[in-house]
């Protein structure tokens, strides 16, 4: 793959698998997970996701998450530009939900702001990843900035992210989304189905049993057909994700991905959850 004039960058919340990122020259800046007094970058090396979720229920204090520093961001952009790149299109976790985009903006200003275009993905996990992936494919194909931005917008409109939150315990403790937890209720044990759209995480269904929640998730997923891309997301629940895929096998693309979601999100939702990120094929129309 030849290096194109536009290079795509993103943060680790996008959950794009490393092989795809590597193949398309996508640069990923890690966000941080703070466990106890340690701040660990989610760079795919320092933090073992499987181990993190395994240990999460036993941690004394709920882990917190942190954006990269403006200094990290500046160094990150500097290293990409040093590679002979004309322009960086940098796609990130929503400003509403994270300080990442602000740090990236400060970092971009430090290296000469006109060479970096920042995009608020309005999405989470592979909902960002789908935008990053499509953008990198177009950039690699030689498309200009306008065309790539337009594609990102269309992908966003055709993306859905839904997840079954197995327990409300972590969301409640994290305090990040009080409006969400209030809309669900706290007296009964509820497994909500959440949707991410327009940088909002909202509960769209309140189920009490796993079977019903799965049934609802299936209906939501199939409503997005025809699917060009599909990722099965999970937090330490590969078995659940596989079982779910089996139930929608006929509608799933052959290259459906399994992604263990970033601990940056997982710290807030806890283990046991499954979800989907879908891209409806009509985005190309």
């Amino acid at each position: 793959m030849t290096s194109s004039r536009i290079r795509i960058a993103a943060d680790s919340v996008c959950d794009l698998p490393a092989d795809i990122a590597g193949r398309l020259n996508i640069h990923i800046i890690p966000t941080y997970v703070n466990i106890g007094r340690e701040s660990i970058p989610d760079d795919g090396v320092s933090l073992d996701r499987e181990r993190f979720y395994h240990e999460l229920p036993h941690m004394k204090a709920q882990p917190t998450t942190a954006a990269p520093s403006p200094g990290d961001a500046a160094a990150f952009y500097q290293s990409i530009l040093a590679d002979g790149v004309d322009h960086i299109l940098s796609i990130h976790v929503p400003e509403k939900l994270s300080g990442t985009l602000n740090a990236m903006r400060l970092g971009a200003e430090a290296v000469g702001g006109d060479r970096v275009t920042l995009v608020d993905s309005q999405q989470l996990t592979f909902g960002i990843g789908l935008q990053v992936w499509a953008a990198a494919e177009l950039a690699a194909g030689g498309f200009g900035l306008e065309a790539v931005l337009d594609a990102i917008e269309r992908v966003r409109r055709h993306t859905s992210v839904y997840a079954i939150i197995d327990t409300m315990e972590y969301l409640r403790r994290s305090g990040r989304v009080n409006a969400l937890t209030a809309s669900i209720g706290s007296l009964l044990k509820i497994r909500p189905i959440v949707s991410v759209r327009d940088a909002e995480v909202s509960a769209i269904s309140r189920q009490r049993t796993w079977a019903r929640a799965e049934q609802r998730l299936r209906a939501l997923t199939l409503a997005q057909s025809p699917l060009e891309r599909l990722a099965l997301l999970h937090t330490a629940n590969m078995a659940g994700a596989k079982k779910f895929l089996d139930s929608i096998r006929d509608s799933a693309p052959s290259d459906t991905l399994f992604i263990e979601a970033t601990p940056t999100l997982g710290a807030h939702i806890g283990p046991g959850s499954i979800g989907v990120a879908t891209l409806n094929a009509d985005w190309r129309l």
């Binding site: 409006a179 209030a182 809309s183 209720g185 706290s186 007296l187 009964l188 044990k189 509820i190 949707s195 509960a203 769209i204 269904s205 309140r206 189920q207 009490r208 049993t209 796993w210 079977a211 019903r212 609802r216 939501l220 409503a223």
Partner: protein, 539 residues
């Protein structure tokens, strides 16, 4: 009503006598209780409906019969409680609509009665024969017969009342559940009482009916729930014999002692307002009024609170929910699930149409879904919804509080921000139907039901409204209900404890259920409902 036509004042006196006669037979109507679950409140519901109706004309001296009928009907519509009260209010509405004009003539009377029956049938999506509806219809049908047609008003009313009584006696032949229980229809009995009162008939009920009611009442007397009401009646020329007779018809454990100037009354009733109201109507002044709740768990009982509007949880909510819920814990669950208005009520104390209207008026003007959460509250809720302009207020006819919770969980279940009311209701309806309800309560009398021998005070377990097991041991009754379920695909049982039972009792029940039901997960929640030690949803 001996003349061939009457004016508003005469009609008002007739209505008063009708209400009065029903008030004397409230207990008798209540006790014609088909199910041995403690929800026999037909008499009270009809009485409240009519009392509210009469309030509307109590100060009215109009000579215009049409006006009196219209106002009486309006009061009935507002006060309608329970299914029987609501049907009664529809009969009165139809009667008033059919009676245009200041003077009630025989031909106008016939037309109004026919309109009454038509209106009542029209108000129900699936009218059931063998109920008050049949009694009303057959009573009115006799007005078309040659010998009645053209008769004087009093003769018409007399023929109608006789036909109503005959129809009432026939109701067990139309409705198998009545036959099995060996009773006539309670609502029909209430209607007969009202007609007899209007006619000026003060005779005792036919021996067959009264005897039967007495027999049932003999068992139910001393039932576990109700109020202990004591007061003094103070007046100039009190009729103690009459007071004793009237009060005895209202409740049990009745003691009436005193003289012409002071009467001491002690009575156990389901509705403490009844004896107090009665005493005031005799013209006596009241003193030393004591109302005690005989069951600590029946705290709120019949002293209903006005609908309380919960704080709206979200201004952006597209719809609001109004639910009828009883019990602190249950109400907390509904509020937690974002129910905006809760009307305190349930089996034994049904809210009126007016209670629904008050609750609706307190909410922002957006679409509303009402969850009645009791079979006997559905019609009053529907009537309230019908009284609101357009299609803004809709009733999802949940038959139990557990169905209501399932519906509440599905409330707001929509992937699109702007779902319409139909889709919301459909979603809620499917959810409420998908959950299995187990209700455990005590039998109010000996009976056999579906092959089960049930003794008074036995615990009975209803699965989706049908009695499926009975035992003196509450855990065994519950186990019996679970044995009826197909456990395939069921994951979770939620036990709401109340009715005087503690969390510990619920935990003990779970221990007993766990062994045979290993695949189920259990959750214990405080419900605080009266009458039902355990309400269990299984899904």
């Amino acid at each position: 009503m001996a003349t061939s036509s009457i004016d508003g004042r005469r009609l008002k006196r007739g209505f008063h006598a009708g209400v009065d006669r029903l008030s004397q037979h409230v207990e008798l109507v209540n006790q014609l209780n088909v199910f041995p679950v403690p929800d026999g409140d037909t008499g009270i519901n009809m009485y409240h409906t009519l009392r509210r109706a009469y309030e509307e004309i109590a100060e009215d001296d109009s000579a215009d019969a049409g006006l009196i009928a219209a106002r009486f009907a309006h009061g009935a519509l507002m006060g309608a409680r329970g299914n029987s009260g609501t049907i009664l209010s529809q009969l009165l509405k139809g009667f008033a609509d059919g009676l245009r004009g200041p003077t009630l003539t025989p031909s106008l009377f016939r037309r109004a009665c026919q309109a009454a029956v038509k209106q009542a049938y029209r108000s129900l999506t699936a009218p059931t024969e063998g109920t008050m509806l049949t009694v009303a219809r057959e009573a009115v049908e006799c007005l078309g017969q040659a010998d009645v047609c053209g008769a004087a008003l009093k003769d018409m009313l007399e023929a109608m009342t006789a036909a109503a009584l005959a129809s009432l006696e026939n109701t067990p032949n139309l409705l198998p559940i009545l036959k099995e229980a060996g009773v006539v229809d309670a609502g029909g009995m209430g209607l007969v009482c009202f007609l007899q009162g209007m006619l000026g008939d003060q005779s005792a009920m036919p021996p067959g009916l009264a005897e039967h009611a007495r027999e049932i009442r003999g068992v139910a007397a001393g039932g576990a729930y109700g109020y202990d009401v004591q007061f003094l009646m103070i007046g100039e020329d009190l009729d103690i014999a009459r007071a004793r007779q009237d009060l005895e018809a209202m409740g049990w454990s009745v003691i009436v002692v005193g003289d012409r100037r002071t009467i001491k009354v002690h009575i156990h009733v389901n509705n403490p307002a009844l004896p107090l109201d009665y005493a005031l109507k005799t013209g006596a002044a009241l003193d030393d009024v004591v109302v005690e709740n005989m069951d600590m768990q029946y705290q709120r009982g019949l002293v209903r609170q006005r609908a309380r509007a919960a704080t709206p949880t979200s201004d952006s909510a597209e719809f609001s929910v109004v639910a009828v819920v009883e019990g602190d814990g249950m109400q907390a669950v509904f509020r937690d699930l974002n129910c905006e208005a809760i009307i305190n009520g349930g089996a034994g104390h049904n809210p009126s149409t007016e209670d629904f209207l008050v609750a609706i008026q307190q909410l922002p003007s957006r679409p509303i879904v009402i969850l009645p959460n009791d079979r006997n509250i559905v019609l009053a809720a529907q009537q309230a919804a019908d009284m609101i302009e357009g299609e803004r207020v809709r009733v999802l006819p949940t038959e139990s509080v557990l169905q209501g919770i399932s519906a509440m969980l599905a409330f707001g279940d929509a992937p699109d921000a702007k779902a319409d009311l139909d889709a919301t209701i459909e979603q809620m309806s499917a959810a409420s139907a998908a959950t299995i309800s187990i209700e455990i309560t005590r039998a109010t009398r000996d009976s056999t039901y579906g092959g089960l021998q049930i003794k008074r005070n036995d615990f009975i377990a209803l699965v989706d409204g049908e009695i499926r097991s009975a035992s003196a041991d509450i855990d065994i009754a519950a186990l019996g209900a679970f044995a009826e379920l197909d456990l395939q695909d069921l994951e979770l049982a939620t036990i709401y404890f109340g009715g005087g039972y503690t969390e510990r009792a619920a935990a003990e029940l779970v221990e007993r259920l766990k062994a045979p039901l290993m695949e189920l997960e259990f959750e214990i929640i405080f419900g605080g409902q009266s009458l039902y030690p355990f309400l269990i949803s299984v899904e």
